[in-house]
Amino acid sequence: MKDIWAYVEMADEKVLRPSQEALSEAARQGRQLRARTTALVLGHEIPKEALEAVGRYGPDRVLVLDDERLSEYGTEPYAACIETLLHEHKPDALLMGSSVVSRDLAPRLSVRLKSSLVTEATFLNPQGGKWIVTRSAYRPHASMIVAPRDEGLQIITLASKVMDAEEIGPAEEVSVEAVGGPQELRSGHVRMEERIREIPSQLDITDAEVIVAGGKGMQNEEGFALLDELAEVVGGTVGATRMAVDMKWRSRESMVGVTGKVVTPEVYIACGISGAIQHVMGMRSSQTILAINTDPNAPIFRISTLGIVGDVRDVLPVMIGSFRETKAKAEAEGGRA
């Protein structure tokens, strides 16, 4: 295997998390197989800083296709451009992170190029010139191992947050090459009519990436004001246990659990929640769970990644203060850059 590609999605000069994972995995596979790794960036007027950011994840080269028709994502022009480049350069693999874009694009590329596609990959095992891929199926009861049927390009999309994203440091020798797309580019059929920025605190909890949830330990409605404050700082949405909803501290909309909503956010901060099974069943698939509770034996600690034994009313103000400091610092730095 000679050339491994990773497709890169960016926003505001930052490499998006799924693409960080794809770039890092490509680099790891490249090191192991002594293959070249290539980052592929599509867009319009991509700043130099953005390409430097890509370089930090260790690709040997960055291919950049800059075209004004690529300034917004569209299935048709993006698929056409990537198809042309894949035909021309014939890499062994194209890795993509798990995202709205890869979901839209990868199957179409696979059909166009008659290349195998495996989605939601959790492990890539190079064997005899191709990758044998492990992916989840019938979760949590099984996973499946899939191989491409033929030789040639393999398209693989990675499961979210399974493979590590690692910055290798400022790359000095990364070469940036500008490449051209197809001569004629069909513009997309789908047109954006409206785009509304979402406000995290007003999201439905099933859409939230960060949930700050409260239970009996919040004591009263004023306790929940602390959660609103925390949610505001971390860009989260407030959830509640059945107890808190029954006490009318929070509306039924925000109830997490078997009789409420089942949520799977990136981060779930459980405040004053003991972890009754009815609640846990609604949130245990969260990526990271931080629990704050006075009782060290509370069942919530058994499923949490991080835990603080203490009273939420003591802990939360300190935590909010600390996050505020970080946020202010990040904003100051962002302002300077």
Partner: protein, 298 residues
Amino acid sequence: MSGGGPEIVVLIAPVHDCLNPVKIVPGGKEIDPSSLRWVLNPYDAFALEEALRIRDAVPGARIRVMAMASSDSEEVLRGCLAVGADEALRIWDDRMEGSDAYATATALAAALSREAFDLVLCGLRRADLEQAQTGPSLAEILDLPQVTGARKVEPVEDNTRILLHKRVPGYLTKLSCPLPALVTMEKGQVLRYPSLAGRHRAARAEIPCLGVHTVGLQEGNVGSSGSLTRLERFTPPKPTRRSAMASTAGKMTAAARLQRIMGGGVQEKKDSKIWECPDEPSVKKVAEHIVKEKLITF
């Protein structure tokens, strides 16, 4: 469009209800069929409900549901008729056994190209295999515009296009897409309950089944020979939660231990940390840890 209102096709995938464990047959080549409990894919239920809502709003609209599925899961299609789909169609042939997402899309596309349609709706992905490929693959084969992961479909008066709501990170977008098109649904309204009359009608309905040749394909187009990937085997998953961190040398029987080892061993949950003293510095330490690990970014 054929004379009357818009023709909507809803692609259905009967899936295994993952609340029930599956049994992997020794060797891992397949899942024991007796352990599979077929239900309507929850994402397809959003698609079907959206189709029913369009039909409620647009006079003359017609809904056909289509699935590539063996007769084991015919009941799922009957369920779709019971809630109000006008017709159901099954595509199956024993030669289709072992089709991957590409071969499935090929068969469905072949069946679809025999009919007139304005809108193809389906779920974003199938809940059991977690694949989100068939919809867009089929759109590519039929050269249709697509919107993946929509949440709402609004018909437009002249029926030449539709408006869609789709969530992308940080934004809610409203898109306009010309018809005919393919839309996959990420979320939506809860599927309505069947009426008694609907159930009766569904129980009596004839569900035709088309084979490989009837849809105009050859044996080589479907099954494993029509696929781009090959299933090597199914394996039991690695336990990942802390509750699974029991010592391997404990009270496990030899068989249970072997099963765990074959599943890839115990994977310890990373960074499982509990701080017991809630003084200011330690809370700050937790906050710093969260920032350092980029669990929350500012």
